[in-house]
Structures are given as C-alpha cells and as structure tokens.
C-alpha cells in the first residue's frame, strides 16, 4: 500500500478514462471522480462504479473482460489507488 500522505486541503479526486467499447457503452470518455477515502484499490473503485447501475453495472460487472491501468501502467484488482491517480478502464487490447 502507498505510504504517501497528502494534506487534507488536497481535493481527493481521480482522473478516470474509458476507451473503445467501454467508452461507447458508458457514453463517457473521461471524468473527474471524487475519491471516497474508503476506496483504496482498483477493485473497490470498480465496485463503486458498478453501483451507479444501468450501463455502468453492465459494462463493468465482469461479464466481458475489462482491463485497468493505473497511471498508464497495467493494474490488477488489488492495485492501490490514491488521490491524483489516472485510472483507465478498457477492453482487452487488439493492436498489431
């Protein structure tokens, strides 16, 4: 877990990005997400987004594979997140 501590005056937000099919299904390319301190991992964030219901639940509930990157590095469910991070959600990549 991160040992970094931030002053209370910092606005605790994440920059969320969505790509490809997820971006289309959610109708959202990016957003500023106010970070509740209880959300400390990628999995907790994903569950909070699923709780929005409707398209969010459908897109992120795991029926279709979803990949996550934190600060542009591939992440796992237990990867820690903190205020100021850039977190991206997207389908499996299909380059080449």
């Amino acid at each position: 877990m991160s040992s970094e501590t931030r002053p209370e005056t910092h606005s605790a937000t994440l920059h969320l990005l969505y790509f490809a099919r997820l971006r289309e299904d959610l109708g959202c390319a990016e957003e500023t997400f106010v970070l509740n301190p209880s959300l400390q991992t990628v999995q907790a964030l994903r569950e909070a987004l699923i709780a929005r219901g409707a398209a969010w639940a459908k897109a992120l509930d795991g029926a279709r594979a979803v990949r996550v990157a934190v600060n542009q590095t591939m992440a796992r469910a237990d990867t820690p997140i903190k205020a100021g991070d850039e977190v991206a959600f997207f389908p499996p990549m299909t380059g080449g």
Binding site: R21, M93, G95, G96
Partner: protein, 155 residues
C-alpha cells in the same frame, strides 16, 4: 530506435531502407508490415483507437525488452491510429541483429506484445455497422509462451 504512434500513413519500403542503411554492423534485418485486411470484401474502414501517453510508454518498454532479450542492434515500431482503408498499412516492426534468428525472434516478440499489451483497439466498419474486434485467446497464449521460455534460456 525509432518508435512512432501516428495518424498519417507511412511508406513501409522507405522506412525499411532508412532502417537498413543505419545498421552496417548487424548482418540481419527482419521487418513485418501489418495491412488492413478485408476478408469478406465488405469492410469499408478500420478505426483504431489508442491511449495517448500509455501507448508511447508501452512501445518503449517492449522495444527495450526485445533489445535486451535478443541483443538487437536496432528496432523500429510504427503503429497508426485513426481511420484506415482496406489495404493500408496499419503498423510495421523492423529489427536488426547480428544473426537471423535473433532478428526474427525480436520481431515476433514485438508483434506478440503489440497485439495484446499495447493500448490499441480496432473497430471494423462495414455497410452493416461497426464492430469492435475481439481479442483472441491465441494472442494471450503467444505471450505466455515467451514468459515460459524466458527464464531458463540463456542468450
């Protein structure tokens, strides 16, 4: 090492000539060019989305890994994004090494990582609509094979 993520088309022949001109010490150059395939004759375009910033970092990482793993003298990766027509070049990889096997293996390794680990997503547009291309299990299997062989093998 030249890495480029670009919307513009490129001349694969000119790129290969320029690449080969600067590798006098290598002895082996391998290149691969990926073309937009129109398998059923119905494709009107291929749209490629990417994650600016992460894409460039990923290409740098894979090129560094390939260079170290196969002792490449030089590597080239070009990958396009945006809207492409059937028959257009999507991407290109070139490697230069002392000997043939390392040049081939380096190019193959780069291709496997570009397919499944670089943040690009392809969408096929045809008259009937648009569909995101699904990732293939065999692409994941190809990556797994590299990690299996990497530990014991000395190069």
């Amino acid at each position: 090492m030249r890495l480029s993520v670009q919307e513009a088309s490129f001349d694969a022949g000119a790129e290969l000539n320029a690449f080969s001109a600067g590798v006098a010490g290598a002895g082996a150059v391998v290149s691969f060019t990926g073309i937009v395939r129109d398998s059923g004759g119905t494709l009107s375009a291929m749209e490629i989305e990417h994650y600016p910033g992460m894409t460039e970092a990923a290409l740098q990482k894979f090129a560094d890994q390939a260079t170290e793993k196969f002792g490449l003298e030089k590597a080239l990766v070009i990958h396009r994004h945006g809207r492409l027509q059937p028959g257009e070049a999507i991407m290109m990889v070139a490697t230069a090494a002392g000997h043939r096997k390392d040049a081939f293996a380096g190019a193959d390794y780069l291709m496997d990582y570009l397919k499944s680990r670089a943040p690009f997503w392809k969408k096929e547009v045809s008259k009937g609509g648009a569909n995101w291309v699904a990732a293939k299990d065999q692409d994941e299997a190809a990556l797994a094979a590299w990690s299996l062989e990497s530990a014991p093998q000395e190069r």
